[in-house]
Symmetry: C2
Subunit: 357 residues, 2 copies
Amino acid sequence: MVNKRDLSPASFIGVAKKGLISFGSGQPDLPPPDAVYQILPEYRDFKYGLIQGLTTLRVALAKQYPGSGKDDFVVTNGASEALDLSLRVLASLNTKLPKKVLLAQPYYYSYPHLIQFSGLEPVYLQTTRGRIDLDDFRDKAKQCCAVLINSPSNPTGRVESVETLKEIEKITAKLGIYVLSDEVYKELIYVRDNYLLSGPHVVTINSFSKTYAMCGFRIGYLWSRDKTFVERVIAMKTHSSMNTNILGQEMALEATKVPRQFIAGQLKIWEQRRDLLYQGLFELGLDVWKPEGAFYMLPKIDRPRDFVWDMYTKHKVITYLGDWFGAPGSVRFSYALDVEKIDEGMRRLREYLSGRK
Amino acid sequence: MVNKRDLSPASFIGVAKKGLISFGSGQPDLPPPDAVYQILPEYRDFKYGLIQGLTTLRVALAKQYPGSGKDDFVVTNGASEALDLSLRVLASLNTKLPKKVLLAQPYYYSYPHLIQFSGLEPVYLQTTRGRIDLDDFRDKAKQCCAVLINSPSNPTGRVESVETLKEIEKITAKLGIYVLSDEVYKELIYVRDNYLLSGPHVVTINSFSKTYAMCGFRIGYLWSRDKTFVERVIAMKTHSSMNTNILGQEMALEATKVPRQFIAGQLKIWEQRRDLLYQGLFELGLDVWKPEGAFYMLPKIDRPRDFVWDMYTKHKVITYLGDWFGAPGSVRFSYALDVEKIDEGMRRLREYLSGRK
């Protein structure tokens, strides 16, 4: 499956080798709260659910988003489908705005694909050490019908400043263009509380995958105050996938009832891992930013394709090639693995780098 | 939600009124086999699964499709997503064939929407009392890059003859165009065994929704011997929704282990209901075809919009307006409800029709 010319993140999914250490996968290794499984033994439903999503789940979500109601949400097959539907709806709008979407580079590797699948064209923002350049933003946003924001960012771990985010709200409102705000890492911020981008032109995308470690169940959602936009998303989903898995939604509902302590506890674990990996990469003299959120680092690495390939084939360590994230010259490390494994991975990394010509 | 100008099938989803009789919904009312719930109490997985689908499930499916292997399948969010992904992949192919898809009218109401969402254009086949006209097929297939076949058909209940299906295989093979064969009702045929359309140019679409009453869990799949096509579907799903709900897939795997007797038992129930509803509509003098498969009838009805609206608002009976299925002048009746309810629904129908001017 994995070959050196490709090295796509998807090609590593499901790879199993004895003694493998993976800094690859973008999913929590610790399980969801027990509560999500407690409803399983008695569960007996089987019929179609509402396309928009389970009402009780949307009511619970509305409590988390100030000024919102259950009708502002659509529950989807992960944040992926929320984004896919949003982009397809954007592409179908009868507007004179250019069919282009602005996004920061480096980016989550699915973004350009999804934008293109929907018939739109990606326009890339310059970033300075992972941060959006507002001058470049002002300039390029004019050529677009929407901007896609991802703070905290996969793969950079950057959290944009509140000032930058407020400025983005203003610029886009003035231009009359949409903001798609992918906030799936909003509960995984080490430096401050999340700043929820908002406004009638904002579509917020989130999921239960990262916060509650429910990746495999594929429960995501979007939130928007634009009624017409929400209706169009529902209309499209009616045909493209119908309701999201009914049992997965009930499990997500249970997750919303779990005390906030669970999230705080997880955050501490992530922070400890971040510090360990950051220290290790820093001591190796690598050029790397200390993550402010999410669970990724993006160090600069010479000959990164050789690095990823050799680390995998010779040292049984998975890392992801930066090229896939619009970051040539870099390699993405996820720290979704326990500290013992991070230590062992770092040991192998040191071994490899010390022998590298 | 329900209003007379719209009367879309989706607007009836989730409608609950005391004493309501629904000939609307296209989902089994009887539960899935018990076995699918038996794995729930011990279930503890949570991580991403393979985008292509659970290996054990694909191995089980391969046993049902002669000459196939697990790599020929992609598990999807219901047949809907299988169809959506197939159409989007078709639209993205670099081919000189016209960007048009041929389908029979009347059609399942999502088809034209999905075709258009993907950037393709629907071309409609004439049917004679619900059957495909092969001369028309030969003529129009030349203008298309794919044909979409749905036998047994929703909403007509028609099963095309084996001769017709074989001819369709031949014509399309000669033209070098794809066949998307939606066979979700393949286990619900009253007149013969299913004829599985096949060939390297055929993409078969199926699901666990109808056969195993698992609609709400959204487990569908596609099967194709065209490796490149399958790879393109996986590549797209990698970004648009990732893996299908892991627990739903495990439940579907359990369904594949249930003895065929379950399906035979269900078929008997469907046949009894069909006979009852057909007899009732026939005795009322309505022009209706006796269904050979699936669980729908499509009688001709004068002023069908008034009929659907009045039956719903005055007699608490849900039926679906034929216009949504490309069948103006008709109304769709599903018989996914027990015989007592069918009897009561027929009583109300007689009452209404006897008082109709």
